[in-house]
């Protein structure tokens, strides 16, 4: 049983996973491994960012122990968090490394949940001199990329049960105030403002309209659950935790 992070290069998979372990937690506590240990492993002080995940391996498995506070009480989950390099989505890489690609497919198929991390597209990025727009794909490319995600989930991983679709780097999106969004979407085990359906609805209508037909295609499968949409940013703890709380609902108790 595992949770796998997938997404293209530089979308923030490793940063998201690392930040989840940050001790400033609210409803998701990573009990093991400690943040300091993970940070030493993944963070490069000289670059001021996480190290890019090397494509010499297709999957990086790490055991983690998480405690999630749910309405029916807190739940301790022992799971494997699988980080994957974004590099593997290039078809040239897939052709030269067929064995590694199969390892990845195997891991993805056996995962209990998928965190699909997508970046924002160029048109919605907030104007700022420090942001290089060339780092981001255009809306059209972004939509095309979703067609390929649909293909991937329909043909290569048809039995995945839970997909949490995270629009990451939400802090860069024009008109998004993380605090306000977090207030809208915040989770609280007893008196949250929105339930999962309403959260999904809100994020879907605000950010994922351009790919609604692709998401409908994913939802049409006979078995498995619908895709749930999230926005995430390492700068906001509430938003960062949401996909894990959602997946945590479905993961088995530690036995």
């Amino acid at each position: 049983m595992s949770i796998i992070y997938i997404g293209d290069r530089e979308t923030g998979k490793t940063s998201l996973a690392l930040e989840l372990a940050n001790p400033s937690s609210q409803n998701v506590h990573v009990l093991y491994p400690p943040y300091s240990q993970l940070k030493a492993l993944l963070y490069r002080d000289d670059l001021g960012r996480t190290q890019s995940t090397d494509a010499n391996l297709a999957t990086y498995d790490r055991n983690i122990e998480v405690e999630v506070t749910l309405p029916a009480g807190s739940k301790k989950i022992h799971t494997t968090w699988i980080d994957t390099p974004g590099e593997i989505w290039r078809s040239s890489w897939q052709k030269t490394n067929p064995e590694l690609w199969n390892t990845f497919l195997e891991a993805a198929r056996n995962s209990e949940g998928v965190l699909l991390i997508v970046p924002p597209y160029r048109e919605i990025i907030r104007p700022d001199d420090r942001i290089d727009l060339d780092d981001f794909v255009t809306q059209q490319q972004w939509i095309h990329r979703f067609d390929r995600w649909v293909d991937f989930f329909q043909h290569d991983c048809p039995r995945i049960k839970h997909i949490a679709l995270c629009l990451n780097k939400a802090d860069l999106i024009c008109g998004v105030d993380l605090k306000q969004e977090a207030q809208q979407l915040a989770y609280h085990p007893y008196n949250a403002r929105k339930n999962w359906m309403q959260r999904h609805d809100y994020v879907f209508k605000r950010f994922f309209q351009p790919v609604r037909s692709q998401l409908a295609q994913l939802n049409q499968r006979a078995s498995g659950l619908a895709v749930k949409c999230f926005i995430t940013s390492i700068q906001n703890r509430e938003l960062l935790e949401l996909p894990w709380i959602y997946l945590g609902t479905y993961l088995q108790h530690e036995s």
Binding site: L70, R159, N195, A216, S223, L225, A226, Y246
Partner: protein, 270 residues
């Protein structure tokens, strides 16, 4: 001891039904009044599942072969004590209910498999074992295109009952689930005539032709229910693009299921 199976096609709401049943553990609605007490770990987890998913606006994950379930022994096994109160001066009907929750694909695959030792046959064997009193069969799709498929499935199932000598001593409660849907909600009062007799004619004929009438009864059930007595809008929202297969509870404070206990009460009545 009442061993009962719950079977039905995929996404017919089997696990959701059980979760709803155990969440309303002390129910006193207009039609029925009952108490449910979980007796094992699996059953206790059902209540948690209801609180964490249904009440939070998400749906219960499908029970599927392969995930953790490889043989019959891996299936969730729920054990409850249920006390059904009949009225002020009548003694309550107390039953211990042991249920296995089958993945829907098992039921759908019985049509395709003719091999003796497949996992599907193993599941059906377990379901028709001598100590199983009967089974609650859930259907969800009422569109007439499904009628032929359901009827074939049931002929096969009845043939399997016959092979195992259970044809005359096995109770079958056939229920249309998710009856909160507007098109079929009015048919709930007489499901045999107004649901099965109208939408699933072939299925009805297959069942009535082969099974003794005292062992067959039709029910209409709704785990989510409608918004209120004078507000018959369904208390559910369908997930976008899922074609109505995946849906969530719309208004959790107004959650009021319909007819959950009646099929069990009938199945267990000797």
């Amino acid at each position: 001891m009442g061993n009962i199976c719950i079977i039905g096609p995929r996404a017919s709401g089997k696990t959701t039904y059980l979760a709803g049943l155990s969440y309303f553990n002390d129910y006193a609605g207009s039609r029925s009044s009952y108490k449910v007490q979980p007796l094992n770990d699996d059953a206790c987890q059902l209540v948690e599942m209801a609180e964490n998913t249904i009440l939070q606006g998400s749906s219960i994950a499908p029970t599927r072969l392969g995930d953790r379930i490889h043989t019959v022994d891996d299936l969730p096994y729920y054990s409850f004590q249920i006390e059904i109160r009949k009225g002020l001066f009548k003694p309550p009907n107390i039953l211990q209910l042991n249920v296995r929750d089958y993945p829907g694909e098992v039921f759908e695959k019985i049509l395709q498999t003719n091999h003796e030792d497949t996992i599907y046959t193993e599941f059906i064997d377990e379901c028709l074992m001598a100590d199983v009193e009967g089974c609650l069969l859930l259907f969800t799709e009422w569109e007439s295109s499904k009628d032929a498929f359901y009827s074939k499935l049931l002929s096969r199932f009845i043939a399997m009952m016959d092979e195992r000598d259970r044809l005359k001593n096995y109770r079958l409660a056939v229920a249309m689930s998710k009856c909160e849907r507007g098109e079929i909600w009015p048919g709930r009062l007489d499901p045999e005539t107004d649901l099965f007799g109208v939408y699933l004619k072939k299925t009805l004929k297959t069942l009535k032709g082969k099974l003794p009438p005292q062992n067959l009864r039709f029910f209409a059930m709704s785990t989510f229910g409608v918004l209120g007595r004078y507000d018959p809008r369904p208390n559910r929202i369908d997930d976008y693009g899922s074609g109505g297969r995946a849906s969530v509870l719309r208004d959790s404070p107004r959650w009021n299921p319909y007819n959950l206990i009646e099929p069990l009460d009938w199945l267990h009545r000797s």
